[in-house]
Symmetry: D2
C-alpha cells in the first residue's frame, strides 16, 4: 500500500501503526532514531533524528534532523497568533543557522514551486516577502542598520515552465553568488487532512527527489550543492488517493474512479487565503531569524 | 447517508443505485420524470425533465428541465476541442433563449461566486469575458453591427465580502436594468471526481439555496425574481466527505479526521488552469449564443 | 485652456492663479466660499465650503463641503505613518456620519472603478478590505461585538465590462438593501504630480459626471439616489496633457504628439505598490470610523 | 539637456534634430553608421548598423545591429493584426538565429523586470508564454515533434526583490545550462509617447547598464556572458521629465514639481491590457521562430 507523505513525523506514525503489538508495547524505535517532543503555547514541536542507515531504511526518510511544528490554531486569524508562531519558527531557524557556525553567514533563500498553481505557490510567496540585503551589503560605502543580516532570495520556477531542472538553476546561481547556507521552501503533500497548512517541517537533509506538490526531481542537498541546505516545507494538500486509502487501510478502491482520483488533491475550501497566511508567517519567521533584533512589523517595513 | 451533489444527473444515478433490483429490471423512472440522451463527437448530453411533484421529491431536484453536457476530452487543450464544446454549449443556450420567445431579448448574465477563491471563481471569470452591449444599444444614434444582441453582465460578489445576499443585489439591479432573461453561472459541487471541470449543467429551474462551492442562500428563480432564470453550473470540486463516503458506501469513517475533512474539497492538481479553460469555453459559448453569426475569435475581439 | 482636475483644492488654486493682481492683494474668495486649513503631524487638511451658486460657478465645483487631506509623507512606508493617517481620515468620516444624525446608521460603501486597470483599481481594492456586518446584523438570534456597526460593500464594476451605468447598479441595490448613507470611493485625476496617491478628498456633494480615471457618467448624489452620498477620492494619475499644459501655461504644444498624449496619464513608477498602500489606509480608516473602539490590527482580524 | 531613450532609432532622431542645417541638407550620417528602412503592411522596420567607434560615440549606442519594428496599428485588437505582427517579429528573430550559424542551437530566453510592477512586467509575461522543450529534449528515449527546437526560459527577478544582480543570476544559470544563444526581453523607456507599447527593438549588442524601467545594472552581452546575446525591448513608458523637456526643448521647468516628476512615468491609460497584448505578440513571435512550421494557435497548445 502506497501512502504518500513528505513529513518524517507521518512516516514515523506509519511505522508505529504497522509494528506488531509486541513492539508497540515496548515502544521501541528503530536503532539510531531519536524522537523528542516539546510543547509551547501555540505550537507543538517534534524533533526527530535519524542517525543510522537502519533507521533511514525503516522510516524511509534520509539521515538527518527533522523538526516539525504543529500549529495549534491553524486558522492563523489574529496578529497575536501569527506573531507567536513566526517567533517559534524563527527561533528554530536561528538555532540551525547558529549551529552551522559561520560568522555573518551569507544566506540564500530559494522559493520552490509554481506561483500560478495555488497549492504549489508557497515557495514563491515566501520568497517575495523576504527582506533581501545582499545587494546593499555589497556596497561598501553605504551605512545601514547593523541588525540586518546578509540575505538574498530566488524563485527558480518549475521545470514545466522553464525547461530546466530547479536544481540546475540553483546550482548555477550558487556558483556566482556563493552563499554560505541555502534554505529551500516548498509546498509538501501530507497524509492527514488535519496537517494541511498547519504544519511546518524543517530539516537539514535537503529535499529528496519526488517530493512536494510539483515535480522537482534533482536532490537539493549539501551533497549536490556543496553548502548546507535546510529545507522548510508546509503540506498544502493531501493526495486524494492517499486520503482514501489511509482512511480505509485499503488499496482496493473502485477502479473506475481510481485514475481520476490519482490526479486529484484534497485541500481546504479556503486554500487561497490559508496559503497567504502561512506564507506570511514563514516569511516573517525567516526575516526575524536572519535580521536580529527587529519587531515583526518593523522588519516588514524594509519590504520595498 | 448524505451525499452532496448539485447535479440532477448524479441525483438520478443515486436513485438508480438505491432502487430494488426488481425496479432496476423494469428500468422504471418515477412518474413524471423523463430522461433522454444524445451523443455528439465532443460532448455526451443528458436531458432530464422533472414534471411532477412525485419526481421532484424522489430525485430531490426542483421541477424543470436539466441539460447536462459531459465533455469527452476534459483537458480542453486544443483550440479545436474548445471551439467545438463552446459551439455545443452555445446551441443549447440559444435553444433555451428561443423557447422563451421574446424578440431581441435583453439578457443579463450574473457571475456568482468569489473571485479570490480559485474553486469558486468560475462565475466572475465567465462574466469578465462576456461581450456586453447594453450600454451601446441604449445610444440610439450609434450605428453598430446588427449581429450583436443586447447583453449586460454583473458580478455581485459573495455575502461574506459584501454583507448582502447575492439575491438581493441581483433583484435590485434587475429592477433598474429590466432584463428579459437572467443567466446565473456558478461553481458547483459534484459527487464524482471524474465530473469536475468537465461537466456543464444548464437548467431552467434557477439555483436552489445551499448549492455551489460558496454560500449563496436566497433562491434565484423566476419565482423570486420575476423573469426567466437559467442556471449554468460547472462542478469544480467534490466534497471530500462525499468522495470518501461514496467510494465506500459508508458513513462510518474515522471520527477524528471527520471534522477536518468536512471543510475540505477534492480538486484537480491543476485547478487554476482547468478553471480558466472551462471559463473560456463557457464564456465563448454565451457570446456565440447571444451575438449571432460570429466566429469564436471574431466575437472575442469585442472584449475591450 | 482646459486643465483637468477632480480636486476642489486645485480648482481653487487655479482661480487664484488667474485672478488679477489687485484681487490677489485683497485675497478675496468668491462670495459664498469659505476656506479653512488645519495642520496635523501627518496630514495637512483644507476645508472648502461652497455655499452659493456664484461660488459654484466660479470654482467649477458643486455646492457642498470638500475636505482635502494632504499626506506629508506619501511613501506610507511605516506602520506608524499608515496608522496615523488612517486615524485622521477615520475621524473626518466619523464626523460626517455623526452630522447626518441617524442612530445606528446602515452604511453602504461602493468601490467604483475597474479592478483590472491598476490606476483605476482603488475603489475595488478598498471595498475588498471593508469589514462587512450587515448580513450578521440581520440574524437577530446572533450575539456579536456591540462595537461593530452595520456595514455592507459593493463593487459595481465599470460600464465597459458590465454594459450598465454604475449609477443604475447602485440605485437598484440601494432599493433592495435600503442603506441610510452611501460612501463612494473612486480614483481621481489630479493636476499636480505631487498630489498623486498622497491626497484624499472627501465631499458631501457626491460624484459629478465625467470624474475619475474611468468613465462613470451618471451623477451619484443625494439628488439621484435619495440618500446622503459622501464621495471619497484619491488622485492616482495626472492627465499627461494637463501636466504638460500646466507646467507651461500653454495650450500650444506640438500637434503630432498631442493625440497620443491625450490618452496617456502620468503615474509614479511604483504605482502598483502605491495604490495598495493608500487603499489599505483608506479601508482601515473606514473600518475604524464605522466600527468604533477597535485598534487597526484588531478590526482587520474580522476580514474573512 | 538629458533626454532619456533606450531606442537607437530615437537616439538617431535626436542627432538629426541637432545637426546643422547644412549637414541635414547633405543628409549625412556619422561615418560607420548605416540606416535602412523597410515597409510591410503591418510594421515599419528600420535597420540601424553602428560599425565604428565614431558612430558609437555620436549616437550614444553600442556598436552592433539594431532592428526597430514600429507597429502601424498599436491597439493590437484583432487576431489578424496580432498574427501578422508576430510573424514579422518571428522572421527577424529567425534570421538572427540563422546568422549565428549553430545547428540546432540551444536557446535560452530571459524575461527581465519585476512582474509586480505593471510597466516593468513585460519580460516575465513573455517568458511565461514561451513553449519550453529543453527538459524533454534531454530525455533521449522520448519521441516528440521534430519541429520543436531546444528552448528554456528563466525569470531572474529584479535586484530589489532578490538581492542579486540580474546578470549574476543569468551568468550562473548559463554556466550549468550551457545554452548557445541568450535572448533577453525587457521593458524600455522611450522618448515619445507614440512609441509606447507599439515598438519592438531587437539588437545584437546586449543590454547596456541603466536601461529599462527597472534597475538592471550589469551589462548582459557576449562580452560578459560568453555567448551571443540578443536583446529584445519594448518601450512601455516615457519618463515624465523627458516628455516635458522634449516637447519644449527646455530644461528649465518649474523647480518645485521637478523632483516629483523625476519619479514619474507617462503610460497609456490602459497599460495593463496593452502590456498583455504586446507580451502575447512577442511570445508568439519567439515560439514561431524557435519551433519551426507551426501555426500560432497550434504552438500555443504546447503551453502547459
Amino acid at each position: 500500500m502506497v501512502i504518500r507523505t513528505d513529513l518524517a513525523l507521518e512516516a514515523r506514525e506509519m511505522i508505529d501503526e504497522e509494528r506488531s503489538e509486541e513492539m508497540q508495547k515496548k515502544g521501541k524505535l528503530p536503532n539510531g532514531m531519536y524522537v523528542n517532543t516539546r510543547d509551547t503555547p501555540y505550537v507543538y514541536i517534534t524533533d526527530i533524528e535519524i542517525l543510522s542507515k537502519e533507521a533511514e531504511h525503516t522510516i524511509g526518510k534520509k539521515m538527518g534532523k527533522y523538526i516539525t511544528l504543529e500549529i495549534k490554531n491553524p486558522s492563523l486569524d489574529t496578529n497575536d497568533i501569527q506573531e507567536n508562531i513566526s517567533r517559534v519558527f524563527s527561533n528554530e531557524i536561528y538555532e540551525l543557522i547558529q549551529s552551522i557556525d559561520i560568522e555573518e553567514p551569507r544566506i540564500m533563500i530559494a522559493g520552490l514551486g509554481n506561483r500560478n498553481i495555488t497549492a504549489d505557490s508557497l515557495g514563491p510567496k515566501v520568497a517575495d516577502k523576504i527582506v533581501v540585503t545582499r545587494h546593499v551589503k555589497n556596497m561598501s560605502d553605504l551605512k545601514f542598520d547593523e541588525r540586518l543580516g546578509n540575505v538574498c532570495a530566488i524563485i527558480p520556477g518549475v521545470m514545466g515552465i522553464t525547461g530546466i531542472e530547479t536544481g540546475d538553476i540553483i546550482k548555477g546561481v550558487i556558483e556566482t553568488v556563493k552563499p554560505d547556507i541555502l534554505f529551500v521552501i516548498d509546498a509538501l503533500a501530507s497524509r492527514k487532512a488535519s496537517r494541511v497548512n498547519s504544519t511546518i517541517q524543517i530539516s537539514d537533509t535537503g529535499i529528496v527527489p519526488g517530493s512536494g506538490v510539483g515535480n522537482h526531481r534533482m536532490e537539493l542537498s549539501e551533497t549536490t550543492l556543496g553548502i548546507p541546505v535546510i529545507a522548510v516545507g508546509v503540506p498544502t494538500v493531501v493526495d486524494a488517493l492517499t486520503l482514501v486509502k489511509d482512511l480505509y487501510n485499503d488499496d482496493n478502491i473502485k477502479p473506475l474512479e481510481n485514475d481520476t482520483i490519482a490526479n486529484m488533491v484534497v485541500t481546504p475550501k479556503n486554500i487561497d487565503i490559508a496559503i497567504d497566511r502561512i506564507a506570511e508567517v514563514v516569511a516573517s519567521g525567516f526575516n526575524l531569524a536572519v535580521h536580529r533584533g527587529f519587531g515583526r512589523h518593523e522588519i516588514n517595513e524594509y519590504l520595498i
